[in-house]
Amino acid sequence: MRSEIDRVGLKIGMWLFLYSEIILFGGLFVLYAAYFHKHPASFAVGGKELNRVIGALNTVVLLLSSFTVAASITAIQKGSRKLTIGFLIFSIFCGFIFLVNKYFEWGAKIHHGIYPNSETLVNGEPGLNIFFGLYYVITGLHGLHIIIGMVLLSISLALVLAGKIDGSRFSMLDNSGLYWHLVDLIWIFVFPLFYLVL
């Protein structure tokens, strides 16, 4: 039996998992690339219809939360439990803000009749249908990852509160943080691909 925890090994496992997540989204980015090549004009039109202000706001929110997650890991290593808890609560709150923004964004689009298999999209330009189809699939899957990330951070928070995570054993928090950075990183690609296209 192993007597001590192999922190490097835990991280290797987590990084391998993150690779697989990147490739999961990679499949969708392949579709994006192929369809962008096929319908460049429609993608440009579609991109203008998305709300850049909310998109940019969400980017800032996620970047900020990534910083606070990293800060919480540093805080736990320095032994300051209160600061860790504060940073974590703020990060989870950021995730929540992101989802609320997303809700309003999706809601507005659906209100205008832009959703998968809607009359407007099916009878309109095929390229636009593909653009919004990909938009819903990719941001939807990303939103799901935000939720998973928030759950992981909440579990870490609970463990910190219970005293199970401290300065000497914080792999769970560390790996949840890595996951959160991944979700952030994917958004960094999603944002320009949809909101800033041409």
């Binding site: 490739i23 999961l24 499949g27 579709l31 096929k38």
Partner: protein
């Protein structure tokens, strides 16, 4: 040495008894055996389905089932054999059981994750069963789930695809576990070039599992979403392109072919030197060819799509890359043969099965070149030639490697020896039946009989009848093999720690191994296939 209780008598984590000791276990050996049970169950079902299919085809027109059932059956046969037998069989059973032992350690890096993978595997299998009985029944799309048929059709495609997604997760997490174990749990004194070849092959397989499986994951998610929401990403009317589905599908499913065959090659690389009493020829070449197959095999997916509509340049590039994969595969075959050359061969059932593997796999590989060449592929695309080709590789290759592994490691896993005579009979009958079964299909394919068809023209009847006849002989042989193995429990002839004169670490521990695998610190040899000491040792054992 006998005083230490085996892992059957001691649970990990300690204190569990009865069924809980199995269902909540963290022990990689118990999990390997649990996979063995599940995989054999699925293999039997899919084998029976295959037999029914070939019986239907033995004569023209309706023989025992209607066309709808036939379509569902060949889909079910394919889905089970691919996702529940060929992909998990060797890594999940023998990999779980022997990878930690060959690395000189007591378990995989993430034991609980390993248990979780097993549950995912069972849930995936359960969903596949459920999809048989609810709604409109099992899909009739073939295991490839090509759009647009898989999206428009009213059968239970969504549920089956979800099952395959979950099975993919299970396989990926196992791979993740193996890679981490390989790097972090290996005995500190064991260098990279001292690792047994079976473990090396699992390592390269694990990378393919990690890097390729998510692609099929997202593809299957898209199929489900399309069925629920009709987004139109693969629908030309809505601006989509069905060809992109095929690309995404084969980006995983071609590398998956190497997930199936690489561990099989690893098994053969273990068996050949042991029974030739000679160090493996070209150890480093075999290690590198495993990695080369894993890398090059990930870049050839579009050779399944020569007739789907691609530019000539793409066809040329993919054809070239396909030919390149043949090189590392041939390196392995020649290394095995060179190992046997001037060795002192001891014939045993695992060795015979390994020889059969080399022969059948070579036929499968060479017919693969016919398909890899864009010109000849146009002629035989989607014919019975393709069916025969991939059965030579998947069944003649992976299947026979699985049988060989079962016979090779059976004494270690269960601590009992089986009868050689019946094992030889089973193996020989299975191989003869195999040739009878698939060689006619090669010819039928060249003559133009398409695959997956329910009925055919009169001139194909002889070939189909022969193939069906061969199928019965083959299944008979396999049954003899399995019954013989099961009979070993009844006879209960205890197996010594090293019945074969093997040199890798699993033969240094008692059969079956104790719960922490090693009683004393394992001795790491400078080279894992050094047979210098084996002769004296077997003399001591009175053999």
């Amino acid at each position: 040495m006998t005083s230490t209780p085996s892992f059957y008598h001691q649970s990990a984590p300690p204190g569990l008894t009865g069924i809980k000791a199995w269902l909540l276990t963290h022990d990689h050996k118990r999990l390997g055996l649990m996979y063995l049970g599940a995989v054999l169950f699925w293999f039997t079902i899919a084998m029976v389905l295959g037999l029914l299919l070939r019986t239907e085809l033995m004569s023209q027109g309706r023989t025992i089932m209607g066309p709808g059932l036939y379509n569902s059956f060949f889909t079910l046969h394919g889905v089970i054999m691919v996702f529940l037998f060929a992909i998990p069989a060797i890594p999940a059973i023998f990999g779980n059981f022997f990878l930690p032992i060959q690395l000189g350690t007591d378990d995989v890096f993430f034991p609980r994750l390993n248990l979780f993978s097993w549950y995912l595997f069972m849930i995936g299998g359960l969903l596949a069963i459920v999809s048989l009985f609810v709604g409109d029944g099992f899909p009739d799309t073939g295991w490839t789930f090509y759009v647009p048929f898989s999206i428009q059709n009213s059968k239970n495609v969504g549920l089956t695809v979800t099952a395959a997604f979950i099975l993919g997760m299970s396989s990926m997490l196992t791979g993740l576990n193996f890679v981490t174990t390989f790097h972090r749990m290996r005995d500190k004194r064991m260098g990279l070039m001292q690792i047994p070849l079976f473990t090396w092959s699992l390592y390269s397989t694990a990378w393919v599992q990690i890097l390729a499986t998510p692609v099929i994951g997202i593809t299957f998610i898209l199929v489900v979403l399309e069925r629920l929401l009709s987004i139109g990403l693969f629908d030309p009317d809505k601006g989509g392109d069905p060809l992109l589905y095929q690309h995404l599908f084969w980006m995983y499913s071609h590398p998956a072919v190497y997930i199936m065959i690489l561990p099989g090659m690893g098994v053969i690389s273990e068996i050949i030197p042991v029974f030739s009493r000679k160090s493996i020829f070209g150890y480093k070449a075999i290690v590198w060819s495993s990695m080369a197959i894993a890398i090059a095999g990930s870049l050839v997916w579009a050779h399944h799509m020569y007739t789907s509509g691609m530019s000539d340049v793409s066809v040329f590039v993919f054809s070239l890359l396909t030919f390149l994969v043949a090189v590392p595969s041939a390196v392995k075959v020649f290394s095995w043969i060179a190992t046997m050359y001037k060795g002192s061969i001891e014939m045993t059932p695992p060795f015979l099965l390994a020889l059969m593997f080399i022969y059948l796999f070579s036929v499968g590989g060479l017919t693969g070149l016919v398909l890899g060449a864009a010109g000849t592929d146009i002629h035989v695309h989607d014919t019975h030639f393709v069916v025969a080709h991939f059965h030579f590789v998947m069944f003649g290759g992976t299947g026979f490697a699985f049988f060989a592994a079962l016979h090779y490691w059976w004494p270690k896993m269960f601590g009992v020896m089986y009868t050689f005579r019946a094992a030889y009979w089973g193996a020989v009958l299975a191989a003869i039946g195999f040739m009878f079964h698939y060689v006619p299909m090669l010819i039928l394919g060249l003559q133009g009989m398409p695959r997956r068809y329910y009925d055919y023209l009169p001139q194909y009847e002889t070939g189909n009848f022969l193939a069906g006849f061969g199928a019965y002989i083959m299944v008979f042989g396999i049954i003899i093999m399995f019954v013989n193995l099961l009979m070993s429990f009844r006879k209960g002839v205890p197996a010594p720690a090293d019945p074969w004169g093997g040199t890798t670490l699993e033969w240094k521990v008692p059969s079956p191994p104790p719960v922490h695998n090693f009683i004393d610190k394992p001795q790491i040899m400078d080279f894992p296939y050094d047979f210098k000491g084996v002769g004296e040792q077997s003399q001591k054992n009175g053999r």
